[in-house]
Amino acid sequence: MADMTLTDVERLVAFEQADRTFQMDEEAFRAFYELTARPLWTYLARTTGDGRLADDLLQESYYRLLRVRTAFESEEHRRHYLFRIATNLVRDHHRRPRVERVEGEGDYPAADARTAERATARIDLARAMEQLKPRERSLLWLAYAQGWSHEEIAASLGLKTASLKCLLHRARRRLLGVLGNPRGEGRS
């Protein structure tokens, strides 16, 4: 202990206090993280179009979840709350003044394209998603990439289930319209 710097001592204090500060202990967090991290990261990456930003928002989402004092009824409820935090962070990010970024910089890692067709399709989808509003991206991703029910999506995005059908329909038509016409002309 005598060899430790003050920073090391502060770290030990921080870890010791974490279980009391956070709404779950480390073991429970690890289990929850294993279940939710991958879907959450892909959701953030696809709705922001930026892999590095997704890394930052992933950390921020879990931090805010750990600090919240809400009593969750179930793990499903906790998961929905996590995605709600993430959605709000994405929305806040889009509201900030945008800095023009170099195309390709920070994009989620490009796969070695096994075929040119797959690479092209992926780029087309990514570009099409960029033309949608953030909420539209969220709706489509949760519904058709992660297979969530309307009730789950409504709980995560803070929407009414009754209005979700209409919103999803519009988002669906919009994405298909953009995919069919990459320059953004035509149907919405």
């Binding site: 921080a14 480390e26 991958r38 990456a45 696809r46 950390q59 989620y108 992926r122 989808l125």
Partner: protein
């Protein structure tokens, strides 16, 4: 205008997600081909699921322990900053109160202090008459000069006390 809807949309989504668009039963495929909603859904689920699987395959997530560790440090830093804030306010209030008390004392005792200044200023005239004109010229600004000297002496002490850890 009523939103187009299909009661089998969810069934189609689940089927495509689990078996792919090629794995649909003949009956379900026939339905999807004839239903505008489900036809769109099959296309989108296929595309988005493929994108998701590719992204997941390339994904390198930080470990749970790393997320936990960073969160713990950040929570501790924020708690420390929150605890320190009232002390900063109290120190500011104490300094302002002290300055006010000193100013009040100086104001009340100023006549006596000024007499002392005059007596001190007269000393050179007693022991060195040649500087008497100089002292007469400096007399009006003597209080200001003494205040500046006091600030120059006290400021380093105050700054040291403010920036020291204790």
């Amino acid at each position: 205008m009523k939103t187009p809807d299909c009661a089998r949309e969810r069934e189609v989504v689940r089927a495509v997600m689990s078996r792919g668009s090629d794995g649909l039963s003949d009956e379900l495929r026939s339905h999807a081909d004839s239903c505008d909603v489900c036809r769109d859904v099959v296309s989108l689920v296929t595309a988005l699921r493929s994108a998701r699987d590719e992204t997941l395959g390339e994904l390198r997530l930080p470990a749970a322990g790393q997320i936990w560790w960073r969160s713990a440090l950040r929570a501790h830093a924020e708690a420390t900053e929150t605890a320190r804030r009232p002390m900063v306010w109290l120190q500011g209030i104490a300094a302002a109160s002290g300055a006010g008390v000193i100013a009040a004392i100086l104001t009340l005792a100023w006549p006596s202090i000024y007499d002392v200044f005059v007596a001190v200023a007269a000393l050179p005239a007693t022991f060195a008459p040649e500087v008497s004109p100089l002292m007469e010229a400096l007399r009006p600004v003597l209080p200001l000069a003494l205040a500046v000297v006091a600030c120059l002496v006290l400021t380093p002490i105050v700054v040291y006390l403010a920036l020291s850890d204790e």
